[in-house]
Amino acid sequence: MAMLEVKNLGISFGGLRAVNGFHVTIEKNQLYGLIGPNGAGKTTVFNLLTGVYKPDAGSILLDGKDITGESDIEISKAGIARTFQNIRLFSKMSVLDNVKVGMHNHHEYSALAGIFHTPKYKKEEALMDEKAMELLKVFDLADMAETNAANLPYGKQRRLEIARALATDPKLLLLDEPAAGMNPKETGELMDMIRFVRDEFDMTILLIEHDMKLVSGICEKLTMLNFGEVLAEGTTSEVLNDPQVITAYLGE
């Protein structure tokens, strides 16, 4: 069974059909890329998948479970996590706390337990600290655990966002232009990191990216979106060599 199965997804803004008839099937543990010109509707697809917008058509199945039209909270609980095109960290909170908030729905204790520091509180907090530090180590952020997220340099902010998303223990991770604003060297490091996450966490990843080096370097399959519709899909090399994709997106 596929990890994510989307059929005929669509939404309009006013008169604009931003996404229409979108479909995709992503297998477990796959690294899947979503590409397309600016304004094609890629971010909107993410917003539909995560419940920010409600689709006016289509269905979304996550690991066999229908999550179409669910609230963002339910979808997060069901196992989709994401990063944002424009970074959205909890800027006044520490790096560590950013990750710990991510575990909100996995390490529960009541408010009273939190106030009275019950054994349950102590146990869960210790567990969270431990897990969060592990995650931070993976992303080379451990030494900045106590820094406010706002004070991180840009590249580290991007990585923290991924760490936070992983903290929700998702089945599917959505990355919206993770390499934006990075130089090729940094992008190279990011690629290693994404692969590592996929392998280490046994993660299924769908990512949006305009950096073809990253896309061709790590994605196994691609869907190309144009004017809200799927123009091409298939293995990475198939799509990248599709003449339609070349004229509409890649150029040259």
């Binding site: 600016n38 604003g181 130089n183 305009h210």
Partner: protein, 236 residues
């Protein structure tokens, strides 16, 4: 004489010493690339040049005039435009209103109209979306708008902060073409880019910034073949 000259610039954010004595110059008609890793201080330098930040030390000279203490809006009038990092479009104004705002310092209606036509020609997508609120544009669309808006002031020098960020490959190529054509039409360009390869390819000269200091500079083509650059910024 250099058109733009920065001398021993020192910039602080509170206690953080972000720019530690940077000097460089841009000659009229040149495309100068400023490259460097995340957080090296590129944006800070541009902000200081256009007066959004005040340096603790050093000087910024524009066409022989000391503009270190000149307020930002006066600098625009002198003929300098800045495409800021993160686009900074006026989210609740329409695309058209944003573009008109770019021509704020100009008064000739016909010339403004001409510039508008020129921008629409360069970015047809903006004309299609001219009545959309800028805040709802896609990332790439906003980038085009930010550039178009800067061109509306008909600047003699334009400072661009990562104009290719978030753009599709075809648009990245286009943007670099546009930068070249902007340059060809007589506007001097100071370009901050992460896409060092493309930037160096169109630039005349380049400076490499490392944690607040210039570590390397020279002819762009030479830098493109420099091994340390290749390793550090081109990912080769």
């Amino acid at each position: 004489m250099a058109m733009l000259e920065v001398k021993d610039l020192q910039v602080y954010y509170g206690m953080i010493h972000a720019i530690k004595g940077v000097s460089f110059h841009v000659n009229e008609g040149e495309i100068i690339a400023l490259i460097g890793a995340n957080g090296a201080g590129k944006t800070t330098i541009l902000h200081t040049i256009t007066g959004l930040l005040t340096p603790k030390g050093g000087q910024v000279m524009f066409e022989g005039k000391d503009i270190t203490k000149t307020p930002a809006h006066k600098i625009v009038e002198l003929g300098m435009a800045h495409v800021p990092e993160g686009r900074r479009v006026f989210a609740q104004l329409s695309v058209y209103q944003n573009l008109k705002m770019g021509a704020y310092t100009r008064s000739d209606k016909n010339e403004i109209e001409e510039s508008l036509e020129m921008v629409y020609k360069r970015f047809p997508r903006l004309e299609e979306r001219k009545n959309q609120m800028a805040g709802t544009l896609s990332g790439g669309e906003q980038q085009m708008l930010a550039m178009g808006r800067a061109l509306m002031s008909k600047p003699r020098i334009i400072l661009m902060d990562e104009p290719s960020m978030g753009l599709s490959p075809i648009l990245v190529n286009e943007i670099f073409d546009i930068i070249q054509s902007v340059s060809a039409s007589g506007t001097t360009v100071l370009l901050v880019e992460q896409n060092a390869k493309k930037a160096l390819a169109i630039a005349d000269r380049a400076y490499v910034l490392e944690t607040g200091k210039i570590s390397l500079d020279g002819n762009a083509k030479d830098l493109l073949n420099d091994d340390s650059i290749k390793k550090a910024y081109l990912g080769e």
